[in-house]
Each structure stands twice: as C-alpha cells, then as structure tokens.
Symmetry: D2
C-alpha cells in the first residue's frame, strides 16, 4: 500500500504529561501508523524526554488530520519550514486549508524566527503580518480581503499544558470537584489565587447567570466589587434586569429576596425595571438621578468596572446597555478579556461557554454550577483547563466572601 | 384600618378548574382579604359556577397587584368600564402603569364591545387602535410615540384554561411525563395530534437543538420534512452548522455519525462547514451548485419551509442565514409563529424558552429533553400549557417517525 | 345504567385548602359522578365550609376506589357506622379488603367513639384492639393470626392537611426550594424550628448519606451532636464506615479530608476501618480502648444518641452495629421514630425514602440534596409534607451550624 | 534522607495503554520518587515495551501504598518471592496487612508457580489453599479461623486492561455514551455482543430497577426472556412487586400501563399484589393456580431463570422470594454471577452498584440510565470497565428488542 508520511518531534515531560502516549493513540485512532525513530526517556521526575516519530497515513487527508491533532500535543514538524499562508479573497471567508487554533500558547515561524501568536483563542484563524513580524488571531467573520492566513501545518508550534509535578497545588485545579468532594478546600484555594492576582493588580473576570440574583447572592458580588476583587463582568440581559429589579423593588422574578415570598406572579417587576431604566435612558442616568442606588450594576458602574452584556433570543426589553448584535458583543468580550488572569463563572451556561470560546488556556478558570451536566458540557467544548465545582452558587459565593474576609 | 376595594366576578368551571380557590389564595398571599358577595356552585360536572367577590387590600398598590393576578384566572371587574389607555411618549418606553399580558386569550372592552387582542403572547403590552376597533400585542422595544397602550385593569377579560373534564385525553397533555412513565403512549398521542393538524393543513413548529444532529436524529427530522409534518423550524447557529457538517463530512462535532467514532478533535469540521457555505454565499447557492445534497437544511430549503435561526453569543461563524441581531430575530419568530397549532421542542433550552415567550397558550406544546431540569425550567417561566417529556431525543424522534408511518 | 352510590361529607377549609375541588377531580378521573346535596361556603378567610356529596359510580369496585381516595381528603361516610374489621387467618397476610393507611392523622369509630390510630404511617394496616378501645398500625409482614384488621371504608376519618392561612410562615415549608431560590432564608427557618423544638426537649432526627463524610461535613454533624441538636440518626453502612475511616485515617474513600488529595485508590482505608472495628468487636469497645476518638459515631455513642444503621446489598463488611436483616432494621426505625418532631434528611436517597415510609405527616421534614430528581422522587412517594431544598449538603450544614451559633 | 525502596517490572503495551505514565503519576502523587533502571520502548503499534523501575519512598507505609496501586497496573516485584499469607484468628476479621483485591484477573505465586485467583471480585481478600495449589476470593465477613489470607505485595500479579488497539470495536465500549451521542449504534453493538454470547450458550445477566415496569418496558424484558437472551436477573422487591402488580391489575404504582392514566393513588395495588402472593405462599404457587399468568417474573419462573431479589430498608411487604438478609443475598448473587459474560443494568442504582461490586472486570458491562450522575457514580466506584449509556430505559429496551429481531 502506498502511504504518505511526515516526521515530528516531541520533547519535554512528554511521558508523565501523557502527551506521547496520547499522540500514539491519535495516530492509530485516525487510521495511521508510526515508527519511533529515536526516543530518550528521562529517568527521574525532573528529567525531560524526547521522541522523534515517523507518522504514516494512507492518504494526505488523514495525515493532515493526524498532524492537526498531534500539533496540539506539542509535536513539531522536523523539516524547518516557515509557516505557510494564503491570502483571503472574500470578506469573512477563510482559505480552504486554514489552520484552526486551539486555546494553547502557539508560535509560528516567520523568516526562521518563532513568533508568539497574539491574543490566542480557540477555533479561529491566525493572520500573519509579515512586515512587522507579528501574528494574531482573527475569527472567521472578521477576516478581510488581503489578510495573510496561516494554512497547513508547517512552522507551527503549540505549547501543551504540562501537568504540574509539584504536590502542593490542590487536586481540584486539575479536574472537577464533584458535589461529593470537600468544597471548602476548593473555596480556600480560589480565594488564595484571587488574593495573589490582586496583589499584583491582575484582572479577575466574573461571568454571572441570573440565578446569582434569584438566590439573593447579588449582595456577595456587590461586596466583591467594593473590595476590588472583580475587574470585569460578563453576562446577559437577565442578570442586569433582575439585579435592577432587586434594587428597585426588592424582588427577583417576583420573589421578595428578604422573605422568600412570591410577591407577584413574576412577570411584572422585571418588565417594570427595564421600562424604568429605558424611560431615563441609561444605567448611568438612573444612578445620577438617584433611581438606582445599590446592587451589582450600581457598584460596577460607580467603579467603572466594565460589564459586557450580550443579548439573547429569549430576552425581554432589553435593558439599556445590553448589546443586541452578537458579533458586536463578541468583539466587546474579546477587548475586555485582555489581561484577565482568572475567570470565575457562576450559574451561567450560555455566557460561560461563550467566554470559554475566547479565553486562552493559561487563564485560571473556575466553573461553578449545581448541575453536573453544565460543568461537563463546558469541559467537553475544549475548555479543558477549567476547574469545575459542582455546588450551590449562593452558598459558594457566601463562603468565598467569608474566606476572603 | 382604611382599606381599598374592588368587586370582581368569576364564572365557568371555576371550582373544578380550581380558579376560585386559586383566586382566594392569591388575595390572601398578597396581603388582601375578600368577602363572597354571591356564590352559585354547579351541582354536577356539567354545571358551571359563579362567584362575585369583594376584594379588599390595605392600599392601591396591593389591590392592583391582586387584580393583575386574579385577572389571569378570568376575574372581571364588575363596573363595566371600557379599557383605559395611555399614549406612548418615548420610543420603546411604555407608560408606567402598562398592562402586562399573559399568553392566554384576552379581550379588551372598546366602546362597550369586547374585542379580541390579536397575536396574544406573554410579557408584552396591548396597543389599541380605537378607530378600527382593534387591539394587538407589542413588545416594549417596538412601541412608538403615539401608540395607545392599555393601562390598569378595567375593561380586560382573560380566558383562563379550563381543565378538560373529558377522560379520553391522555393525562400527559396536562402535565409532565417523567422518565418513569410510559412514553410510548405519549408518542402515540403526539403522533395522533400531528396527523389531525395536518389533515386540515394546520402548521406544526419544530424547535431544534444541536443534540438532534449529534445523536444522528437529523435523518428523522429530514424524513418528517419530506412527509410534510413540519411547517416551520426555529433554532440557532449550532443546529444548521452541525446539520451542514454532517451533510458535507458525515460528522457532527467531529464524530462520524455512521460509526460513532471520533474522527477528529471536533473543532475543524464545523468551521470548515461554515466556511464552505460562506464561500459560496448562501445555503440556496450551496444547494444549487450541488454542494449541499441532504439533511434538515437541505430538505427545508427545497420545500420552502422557513427556518428562523437566531444567533447567540457562543456562535462560531456564523453560518449564512443566521440572524445576528436579537430584535430582528424575535421579529422573524413572531411572523412565523402565526397560525402554528402545535410546537414540538426537542433538546433545546435557549430556543425553547424564546419560543415559549412568543407562543399563545392555546398552541399544543411538547417539550422533549433528557434533562428533567430543562423541562421544569420551561414550565417555571409560565409556559404552563407545555407538556414535558423527559426522554431521549434521538429515540423519541425515531419512535415518533415509526408511529407516524 | 345501574349505578351504585354513597354519600360523604367534607367540612373545614375545604375550598381554600382545595380538598373539595380535589375530591371532585378524583370522582370524575376515576369514572364516577357526583351531585352536591348541600353546600355552604364560608364567605371570609376565617369561615369554614361544608359540603355533602352523593358519589355515584358504575360498580362497587370503582366506588370503593373513589372512597379510598376521597377519604384521604377528609371525606367521611354519612351513615354513622363503626369501623369494620376482619380477622387475620394467615401469618403476615392481610384480609383482601384491608384498609391501607396514609401518613395523615386518622381516627376509627369503635362502639360509636372516634379513636385516634396510634403510630400512624403510610401503606400499612390498622389493627383494632376492641377490648381496650385502641387502634394502631401494623405492617403487612407483622400481622398475626387473630389480629382484627380494618377493612372497607366505614368508620374511618382522616384529617387532611389544611394549608396554613397565616402569612408569617416561610413559603419554603410548603413546597420545594429550588437551587434558584434564596436558601439562606430556608436555613434560618430550619434553624428557628430546631431551636423551638429543642426548647421543649423535642426530638430531631437526622438521616445521613455518606456524601456528608466525603465532603468533610462530618465535623458539622459532630458539632450539632455536641450542641444537643440531634436526638436520633438513621443511615447505613456507608455513613458509619466512612465516618470511622475519617476518624482513624483522615480519609473518606481515600481522599484526605484536610487537603482534598486522593491519598490512595479509595478501596483500602474503608475496608481497613471496618476490619479494625470488627477486630475489637464493637464501636463501644473501640471507643473504650481509645481507638475511635472523634467523629459522628464517636459523639453519638458517647451521648447515647441512637444510630439505626440499616444494611444494604451493596455493603462491604459490614461494620459492627449495622443491621443486616431488613425487617429487623425497619422495626428499629419504627421504635426510634416515636416522638420525632422534625426530620432532616441530607444527601441520602435510600434511607430518606425508607424514613419517609414510616414518618407520620405531621413531622416537619426537610430533604436536602444537590440533585433535583432525588428531592422530586421523595415527594412522588407520598411524603408530600416534606420541604425539599436543592442545595449543597456540605455548605448547607456549615450554614446551618453557623446560623444556630 | 533515609528512604526505602523496591524494584518492580512492567511489560506489555505499557505506554499506549498508559500504564507506565500512570504508574509514574501514582509514585509521585503518593510522595515517592522513581528511577528508570531499564526501559525498552516498542517502536511500532504491535511491539510491546518493558520497564524496570526502582521506587523510592520516605517510609514503608508510603512504599506499601504505592506498591498496592502500581500492582493494579500490572507491576510485579522483581525479587521472585512466593505470596505471603497470615492465618485468620477471629471469625470475620482479616489480618491487618491483608491484600485487598481489584476486579482484574490476578495471580499469586504458590511454591514458585503462578496460580490464577478464582472468582475474582474487588475489595475482598484472597484465601490460599496451599495444599491444593488454589487461591480464591472471600469477603471479610466470610473468612473463618484458620484461613490463609494473602498479605503484603509479594508474589502477586495483576493483569491490567490493555486498551484495544483494533479500530473495529465501537468507541462506546471504552467509555460513556452521553445523551448527545448516537445511541442507535451502541444498541446495535450491544445486540451483536448478546447474539455472539448466546451463540456459544454464554450467560447474560440483567439487573433491573422498577422504572422498567413503570415505563411499560416489562413487556420487552418478558420477550427477551422468551427469546433466550436472559440467563439470570438481579433486582429487588420493587421490580418483582410492580411486575406482579402489572400482571394482576394492569397498573404500576397505580398507573394504568395501557392508557397512562393514574387509576388510583398508587399505594394500594402494589400492597394488594404482595398480599395476594403472600396469601398463596409463593410465586411458583401463584403460577400453578393460574393467578400469575404473565410478566417478567412469570416468564423467568417458567423458564427456571434465577431471579436474585435482594431486599432493602425501603421495602413494603416484602414479596415472597425477596431475601431480607443482606449477607445471604450477597451470597446468592456471588453464586449466580459465575459464568456471566455480559451484564446489562437498566434503571437501577442500588442493585447495579451491588452487582458491580462482585463482577470481575472481564464481564462486558453496560449501564443504562437516563440520569448522567447514576452512570458517573457507577464508574467512580471502580467498575471502570462498564460502558455507560445515558438514555431512556424504555426506549432503549424497545430498540434493543427490535434490533435483536
């Protein structure tokens, strides 16, 4: 049988980080075969290893598929080519063989130099600015005619996650914490990391779903804002609407947050809240005239903490400030994500997934939800560096605030 | 203590439909009191009943709250006023005391005549066209300066759902079917209703989530389209993207639908599918040139079955045809909802909630999801006429198609 | 058509407690019909109502079915017969027409006197001791030859739950608290009730699943024991095994409870813990010799708080003290349930259902689980007086202890 | 620092089956260190590899812990000792250093010969019969004074699962099938395996929960019994009670299985069913006199298919044939498990876990449940060879029967 082949190298903690056995799995699962041309195995836990593999496949399509996947494990083609690019010819349309990114730190070889790809995120294209020796990410719908887009597999180097061999980090940052594990420890570790990040003025992002308000936990977020633990907020129409509803009428979906009683059918106060802000024109104006005096939106606005609020098809209103156009909303998210070191996503599925899509892998991400399947779903989408915590959002936030105090 | 009061009447099957005891509950739960001025109880199951209630409340705000809720049970103010309206003075802003609709059939009294409110849906305003003796619904963001919007509670009559006293209807159309009930019976009843609706050329709406494609159940939807059982489809970027991905490459999120194998990491083929359609410009063009030859999108397009595809913040691409602006997308949904008699929502939460928001109560609605909490969540939002079916979407659709054959 | 009939009376808050409309529903759902012979409706919220209904059914079997169900709503046959009984003729076998109990307070008419049935629980038989004018519950497998067992529907009066018309009680005690409601309020109300019960030396029962230990929440239960808030514990082999494992080795299923690390595969320490106690013979002996020095089992044993530990088919060991015979275990539960005023069930399904089976309806019951379907399942079994709280067991117990402090 | 050490060997597909990197992980996670004394890596996918590792640990306890875990990956101590044993001195109590089994095929070295451990299951002890050169498993509570129980780590060899390198087996047999994957393919593969097993008269076990009856799927199990696809059934009181209830009265928990209607409150017919069988004395007698004429229990009894029915603390009745003593029930399960080649567990958690505890790893196990967390829970207990299928039990069984036809 006629086969095609390519030689790649892997190096580093490729055995105890499981990247080598994973690469072998992929090659065989996709219908290829391999021969180990050279292997050097580190003989203690500090030594690194090296492997040069010849990958064979029945045709170019399969070979390319294998290469696209083993590259994510850090495999680099041995023939030292520069990255290949193709020019965009239609607005918002990529060349057929475009390289699709992962969220791992990535380098491309330009004129023999390895250059870091800026603003890395997954499932987008890499555009090369040859003249300035730069490379950066662009989503499909934003590519313009003339853009030089990376294609194929040459001259691309991905830095895979290496499992931390130090024992002092808590297990939970490497995997999910089910509802049957000790969450108090996870909360302590999250608090410690937040303090560390704030100590050097790093940015912490909170992604919030409306259940934060329904459960009365808005007060904890407001307090975290006052204490400087939140630098940016992502969410939707529901979180701001119910936050304003609770500030104006003391209810969330009609439930009195002080007594737990359903004080109305639930469909009036949130509309009244939206209408009241629309009547004055904006959140800022509502604060200025003394209409809005408390809550997450109030605290964030007063402190100039950006809230990127993306609309959705199920929205009433919407509240002024909510972005109705999805591409514009994604653009705003990409702007505000810059510099974020930690992302804490609470009781949100839609916005958590959207955020996961644009976050680089190195951001410490914590997903908190009472529903195991939400946590699992986020992990399934490739945001695999996220630590999932299956617990109650209200009691989690209360505990987090206590621990930070 | 000074109190305010109002007299209302309820009539019909108000005891066995539980509307009278419910009204009493509401009055007391909201802090009011009542006196029964007159009551006539039907003495057999065909007789109707009548009750005139004097409602007392400590202040006007509570009285108004009570009235807004008992009106949803069919209570009508006895003093026979016409409906009150206020003129809109700001674009997209309602008058402070606007009446917020339910999804139940509603009438308003114009010049002494009860007039049916057109295109009823919940959580919107009623605009009155006095000159032509008409009244219709408008969402907050669409009201224009000069619109006459219904305010207060006078001259409004809601027709509550009366529980069906006939025993031949299946229990499942009145409540949820848990995973521990006989679903084969529910499937038979759904099939029967679909056939009945199609016998008189009625419209059936399907709301579809991407799991329909991931599970290989796209083929059943395609067949339902060919057999004329679907007149309109609502969904998002994911359903069309994975449908086209499966038509072009045989995969959904990288899983081969014929073998169940993961044939690639899952992040390439869906981007390639979007890019391929973007390159030719539209779904219609892709069909014309023979690129797209099968699947839901293909069948629907060939049959001129409208697909309203609303974008969301988590989308890649998007696929041509997906609407990125949320208000425009809602407008398209409202257009296509007209005339729908049955709505079947499968494995979708976001789009199912959005659809529930605009559906009138009389549309037979079935929510199918494997996750109990999704079904519960839909019911909690007031779409209480929905029958929930906790089951597997793939096997449900397969069984439905078999039953219809 | 030939029909059979029976006349019943209902009185009390039968309209606002919905027992009258429910009774009418049942009659029609089961295929009967009714005529209202007399009705008097209370005209304000303090007045009670009265209704005399003639129930018709096509045959005796349906009539009996209807009567058995409307009796649970408080309907009493108007012809003032004494209760009927039949003598047991086979050990552990009931007469064919035995009356099956509910968990509501029930009276039987003996020689013209209404007598309270002792130790009421659901799904068992009532045995009459005519000589001493007493009646009490017996499960099927415990009836003995010669027992006089209640049959049919004459002379039986059930006291249905009337919905509390007072507004000061929290909504949550009447229905489920979903993960999207304010749980801090529910915790405060539970704490208040516990304090009230302990103020008059009432008994509080905790039913505990092993996740209480896995999550490190055993310390909170131990503290509740020290503070006198727990008078009896129900559970299984798992809770005691992991509690002892954590006391002896600091782990639960191999996870170190201080660091969250998996310190062994999880299958050794729990076996070692069981084996260690088996080697010394009993928990009491292990405490005496200083082997067991902390934890739930230690605190409970030291305070003579009974732990009823029922075995199950999935058990390893078992630990000394666990009852392997199910009928013996149920007998022990029935003994210890006497006098319990409140039952708090945390992260347990099997034992919570078993406890629900033997608890009378008047016991305040709270079911805490992170899984909505567990809470729903308990309610579906007829333990409808239970308040369900969908939240994290660990953080719930921590919050409860803080609130009680 | 003074350390202790031990040398082990691993061989086979230790890299692509990930046993070598896993072993390194364990050593470091538990606080040890290692040096690779020799390594030979296979250079193609058919070659095997070999590694000799020197494991160091700070003390004997940690060394022992590490050895106990790496043994499960196939590591064997290099110094060729026979297995060590200690004599049992107390009934039902193991020696302190007893070796706790996994469910993987295991050998012990007796007089220099590797001998297969009979009836392997996890979390039990190995008893050696030196005289006859045999070794077999015994649960803790069954060990007798004088039994020779394996202790320590010498002379023990575990055969780990090697991942199948052949691509033709479906992915699903290696991991969970979520509700979002194609289940029709999984059903086809299960059917194929069942036919293969029956072609050589192999045994198939079904573990059944009561939802099988509530959903009307009892008919599919009855048909599978008639067609010879079930050789043994495990379950509890609920499955037999509702099966008999449905055979006698056409209901399950009071729901008519033909119409889906709730025909009674649900608490009478199941008690009547139990009482009816108790009155005649046994299932066999009930069939003989023509009382029981259909259903799972009827078909199984007529075909002499053993049903092992283990009681639980939540049972009513119980039905004759249900075993009330847990240790006796486990003993019966262990007897009937012999020779089973495939285990299909449907809608059962308690009995599925109990069965997982006694099944050897080589039995093909399929867990079907609509609840993701049940499937996850089973996997967490170490029954990691189980394929989980998140789907609807009723529609799964219907589809399985169709596929087998």
């Amino acid at each position: 049988m006629q086969t095609v082949h390519e030689v790649v190298e892997l190096s580093g903690h490729i055995i105890d980080s499981w990247s080598l056995p994973r690469a072998w799995d992929i090659i065989m699962d996709r219908g290829g075969n391999f021969a180990v041309e050279e292997i050097r195995v580190g003989t203690s836990k500090t030594d690194t290893s090296y492997c040069r593999l010849k990958i064979e496949a029945p045709d170019y399509e399969i070979l390319e598929l294998i290469l696209s996947e083993v590259q994510q494990l850090g495999a680099v083609l041995t023939h030292a080519d520069n990255v290949h690019t193709t020019t965009v010819e239609q607005l918002g349309v990529l060349p057929a063989k475009f390289y699709s990114t992962t969220n791992l730190a990535t380098q491309v070889r330009l004129s023999g130099q390895w250059v870091q790809v800026e603003h890395i995120e997954m499932d987008v294209a890499i555009v090369v600015d040859e003249k300035n020796g730069r490379a950066y990410c662009k989503p499909m719908h934003e590519v313009e005619i003339g853009d030089q887009v990376v294609v194929g597999h040459d001259g691309i180097r991905v830095q895979p996650f290496e499992r931390n061999r130090e024992r002092e980090t808590f297990a939970f940052m490497q995997s999910d914490v089910s509802s049957e594990k000790v969450k108090v420890l996870a909360i302590q570790e999250i608090a410690r990391q937040m303090q560390e990040i704030r100590a050097h003025n790093g940015k912490i992002l909170f992604v919030l779903g409306p259940a934060v308000i329904h459960t009365g936990a808005g007060r904890y977020i407001a307090e975290l804002l006052r204490r400087g633990y939140i630098q940016v907020i992502f969410g939707g129409n529901a979180i701001i609407t119910h936050d304003v509803e609770s500030a104006l009428y003391g209810t969330s979906l009609g439930v009195n947050l002080e007594t737990g009683e359903q004080v109305e059918g639930g469909h009036r106060n949130h509309l009244r809240a939206i209408n009241a802000i629309r009547a004055v024109g904006s959140i800022e104006k509502a604060i200025e005239i003394g209409l809005l005096r408390e809550g997450i939106t109030y605290e964030a606005t007063q402190r100039h903490i950006p809230m990127v609020l993306a609309g959705s098809i199920r929205d009433d209103g919407p509240m002024p400030g909510v972005i109705s156009d999805m591409q514009q909303a994604q653009r705003r998210m990409r702007e505000e994500i810059q510099g974020v070191e930690m992302a804490i996503m609470v009781a949100s599925m839609l916005h958590a997934i959207a955020t996961g899509n644009v976050l680089p892998a190195h951001v410490h991400t914590v997903v908190v939800d009472i529903n195991q399947s939400v946590v699992t779903k986020l992990a399934d989408r490739g945001s695999f560096q996220a630590a999932g915590l299956v617990t109650d959002a209200e009691l989690f936030l209360r505990g987090l605030l206590e621990t930070l105090s």
